[in-house]
Symmetry: C2
Subunit: 623 residues, 2 copies
């Protein structure tokens, strides 16, 4: 007989029924509570700490818990089994935020929103159109059937393709037509070969036609609410991808998906995250979820597979094969995304297992495919994807950077939100910093880490391999790990960068730099040949180019060659929503794109080792 | 509070729980027991007789029950309310047979099966194809995605159209491919603009690809099991349409569909009838229902609407508008037809509200659209549809004949089954007859009625308007109605033709003849101009042309101009299953076809009245 226990979670007091012997992390996930767990529950990362208040449990011995923590009854959730009714407390630092209070892309505030207007580059033809029709009433001289009558009027407006309809809508048609006195609104989706009617409503509802563009990143998910009639972006929101509870990077997510019910769980949390974003966007813009007719997803292949609940296993097994590159248009309800019940879900096509639709988006939005001169495009996220090329060719590769530039996987990392330390200067042992919004610091964001790393090195606090050297009163030790105090909050809590953080950051910047140098060496080209250097990614628009060059994240090129593009994946999803030229181009782009597999490149490992210095050994040679 | 009663039905002993006050007919339908009710429960036709054995009830007074019947406790089910637990007995003659033991279309047995071979006239390209593929296993030199890999191989075999896939099948793809060592069988449906993959199975199942062609008639339903790889018809079965419990003709069915839950009920019984036919066909040919990938429906517009559960109401209201003429391909499961869960259901397109896909089928199968000379095509069923034309034009009309030629709605009517009286001769007061199979007579079929009517008239037993005249020992009276004894069974039961039967038959033949004469007069043509005269319909192949001319069902033309085509609606459904040329042609035909609405024709009523004689008044004038 199976025994069950009650797991009570404080501070909320929420109770979860779990089977006896379940580990606490699994119990929390079952209860829809998501805490950090970079390794996905393998006991390696040591992030899923919880405080046990009362009850029976067994916890495996682990080196990840300090004696101090043990005294406070802190244990790793993934290594602790529930043996009886148990009460635990969630530690605030482990909670994956449900919403990032970041204001990006609000009209006029951001560079890329100002710059990139899809309608400047492409025709306007949204993926779902909503058309108000006044059909001529049938009489003995005009006895066309209801459906053919509807099509006759529709084709007067849109004559490019044939139309089709499903049984559900055909069943509704005769009554709706007559009850609405032959005035109806038809929604139809552009499915390449054919237009499919997805909804018929009485009267004129054509003014309310909205879409959602989503960038599904490994660490963060961004979504825009788009007016499909006007082609305008109404609002964008960002949140963390709650899949982080199942591992920080793509590979650990795939490994988790291979476990029993793993794919189902990953699918569930990502769809629920997107559903909440959609709900928030609708509420804040006072738009009914029923008027959302379409959702477009741009993301890496793994994220797309998990969202669609397609086995991603073969993406990590040689020879790395995705289920599809170009996906058909699905019903959003079949994917588990809640918009209008007849709404659709489309996917920006992706070229390769590790260069997905997010990069197809980036290639189009950056215009690299039209450039005369050699151009480099890099999207810095949890993965760093690089495209080198111009109007004649496009070569790409992908490197795993980890989520530290997105404020994850580093001790006091935060996204570029209010209170994030974004600028740092160290002089005479004093640390000067600036936070976003000039408020009390809450943590360090990606751009802050870059400046910090540069300053630590310049001031001789760390050496070129990133190791703390010399004496400094700001270097303290916590649980046997050296860390540098950057700031102290009003409540006395310290904001630090640890030795592990530094190693993490160096590996991340090294992975991206060496990927860029490998692709260029393979093409027998040099960084100097690059005339334009585009940086995409959530954190991109905040960084200081010079500092990024100093730490060796970016190559040493004249500053004016660099350009920040912001979240081009999201911009691409918006473009895919709004233009059929964009949609057709996205399929052409992936046919044009060639791929270099770094893991099989003879050059890459050498380049990577050279890049594990500040800035890198090439630079040292130059000096 | 609602009270419920138990209605017990003998001879089966089945018990049905009904609400107190329910009429017995509704109770029987609720319990899936279908008895004749031509008028659909309005108390008009007097056919739904049941015997009450025991219990509380209230029965409205009706002239439809004789005193003899009253003594036997026989009542009309539709006029009798259940007031307490009630036991009743079903009378054998009211039961709608579940299966017609008629052998038609078995290989070589029937004229039309011999004659019409779809592959002679059209290319062979079944609506669902099942292809075995050995995909090249991916390696680092061939890293195409699973889906694009599949399409690449498919397009080597079928390069006419693009392909698409649904989420369900895409989700299955990665595992099936690898578990089956890259050997799979793909089923896809030809959807005009695109081929849609509907199923993926491991290994080679391509040999098992079957379809079902269905002719859904108002009175009978026929279905063929078709081997889609070979284009061969394996078996055909016929059954009565159980919708007869809700009314004999199209209009009473539509009226019933307008009642609460009426459409749902009509939809349910017709889908269940088809499901049983499919099951029987599969069982008798030892084929798994899972290997049935497609179903094609050919039928009149009302039958198609009821099958699809689309409101048919506007088919009977001016200006008579169907929901659609050309239907998209549906999922069979959405319609409620049980074949392979991924199977499809297609509909032969229909030109007009009363000239549906059954007639489109007939036009193609008869080749009238290719004829040089003027040709007339008539499909004699519950409705009689007529097409006049040749390669240059096609004009059609429809007349309501009633089901008497199909052996329904006449006292001792049966279909053309073993034991049916099909030939009759009256000489010197003696009746000589021949039954199908030369066995004991069980009733009279359509062709038998035609000969009988002719003989009764020739022998002066009825006059030219069909009234019994003179003295004859075979004319007896039952419940105040005169009837003529045709035969006596071994058990002493009489097989008769009643005055009401004769009136019915004259109205039926008159409706068809006058429809033909009206269409010709409208075109300013004469019967003599018709060089070929095609007769379609279940009963068509058994009738004696000369006798049919004698009673005025057919015009007085040389016998060699007439040709029987059998059930062209079913043959059309088979053609639609097997050939894309056929499918494309069917859409062209309905665009070419023009319609004469008899109810609005100034000529028709006059022609009809003239045709209510034997043979008709035109003929009398000629004499």
């Amino acid at each position: 007989m199976k025994e069950y226990c009650v797991l009570t979670i404080y501070p909320s007091g929420k109770k979860i029924i779990v089977r006896k012997g379940t580990d606490i992390l699994s119990g929390l996930i079952k209860g829809n509570i998501f805490i950090s767990s970079s390794c996905g529950g393998k006991g390696i990362c040591g992030r899923c700490k919880v405080k046990i208040l009362k009850g029976e449990f067994y916890s495996e011995p682990t080196g990840k818990i300090t004696n101090e923590e043990k005294e406070k009854n802190i244990y790793l959730a993934c290594r602790t089994s529930v043996l009886g009714n148990l009460e635990i407390e969630i530690l605030p630092e482990t909670i994956i935020p449900q919403k990032v209070e970041e204001k990006v892309f609000e009209k006029g505030e951001e560079f890329e929103r100002e710059r990139y207007n899809i309608k400047e580059f492409f025709n306007f033809s949204p993926i779902v159109k909503k058309i108000f029709l006044r059909l001529p009433k049938p009489d003995f001289n005009d006895t066309l059937s209801d459906y053919e009558r509807l099509i006759r009027s529709l084709r007067k407006i849109d004559n490019k393709k044939n139309f089709t309809i499903d049984l559900h809508n055909l069943r509704k048609l005769p009554n709706i037509l007559r009850n609405s006195f032959w005035e109806i609104t038809v929604s139809y989706v552009d499915k390449k070969e054919i237009n499919e009617i997805i909804n018929i409503e009485p009267g004129d509802t054509s003014k309310k036609n909205y879409g959602i563009a989503v960038d599904v990143g490994t660490t963060t998910i961004s979504a825009s609410l788009v007016d499909l009639n006007k082609g305008e972006i109404l609002k964008t929101e960002i949140t963390f991808n709650r899949q982080a509870s199942f591992g920080d990077d793509i590979i650990s997510r795939i490994v988790f998906a291979e476990k029993k019910d793993g794919l189902e769980k990953l699918h569930h949390v990502v769809t629920e995250t997107i559903n909440e974003l959609i709900l928030n966007l609708c509420e804040s813009c006072d738009i009914s979820i029923n008027d959302i007719t379409s959702v477009i997803i741009s993301g890496n292949m793994t994220m797309v597979h998990l969202l669609l609940k397609i086995n991603p296993s073969f993406l990590r097994k040689e020879p790395y094969i995705p289920s599809a590159n170009i996906f058909p248009v699905f019903k959003s309800a079949d994917v588990g995304i809640r918009i209008n019940p007849n709404g659709i879900l489309g996917i920006v096509p992706g070229g390769y297992p590790y260069v997905g639709g997010d990069i197809t988006s980036g290639i189009i939005v950056s215009n690299i495919y039209k450039e005369e001169n050699l151009t480099l495009f890099v999207d810095i996220g949890t993965n760093g994807e690089i495209v080198v090329g111009n109007k004649d060719f496009l070569v790409c590769c992908s490197a795993s950077a980890g989520p530290c530039f997105e404020g994850s996987g580093v001790k006091n990392g935060v996204r570029a939100v209010k209170g994030a330390i974004q600028k740092v200067k160290i002089e005479n042992g004093n640390v000067y910093f600036e936070t976003i919004g000039n408020v009390e610091p809450i943590g360090i964001c990606g751009s802050g880490y870059i400046e910090l790393l540069s300053e630590l090195c310049k001031n001789g606090i760390i050496d070129r391999s990133g190791i703390f050297i010399g004496e400094n009163e700001r270097i303290i030790e916590d649980e046997g790990m050296k860390e540098f105090v950057v700031a102290v909050k009003n409540n006395g809590e310290k904001i630090v960068i640890t030795q592990a953080d530094i190693d993490n950051l160096i590996r991340a910047k090294g992975a991206i730099y060496s990927a860029m140098s490998t692709i260029l060496k393979t093409l027998e080209m040099k960084f100097e040949d690059i005339k334009k250097f585009y940086i995409a990614g959530g954190f991109g628009s905040h960084i200081n180019i010079e500092k990024a060059i100093e730490i060796g994240l970016l190559p040493d090129l004249p500053v004016e060659r660099f350009k920040f593009l912001g979240n081009t994946s999201l911009l691409g999803a918006e473009g895919y929503l709004l233009s059929d030229e964009f949609r057709n181009l996205s399929e052409e782009i992936i046919k044009k794109l060639t791929y270099i597999d770094l893991s099989r490149s003879p050059i890459y490992m050498e380049e990577y080792l050279k890049a594990l210095f500040i800035p890198h050994t090439d630079f040292l040679k130059k000096e």
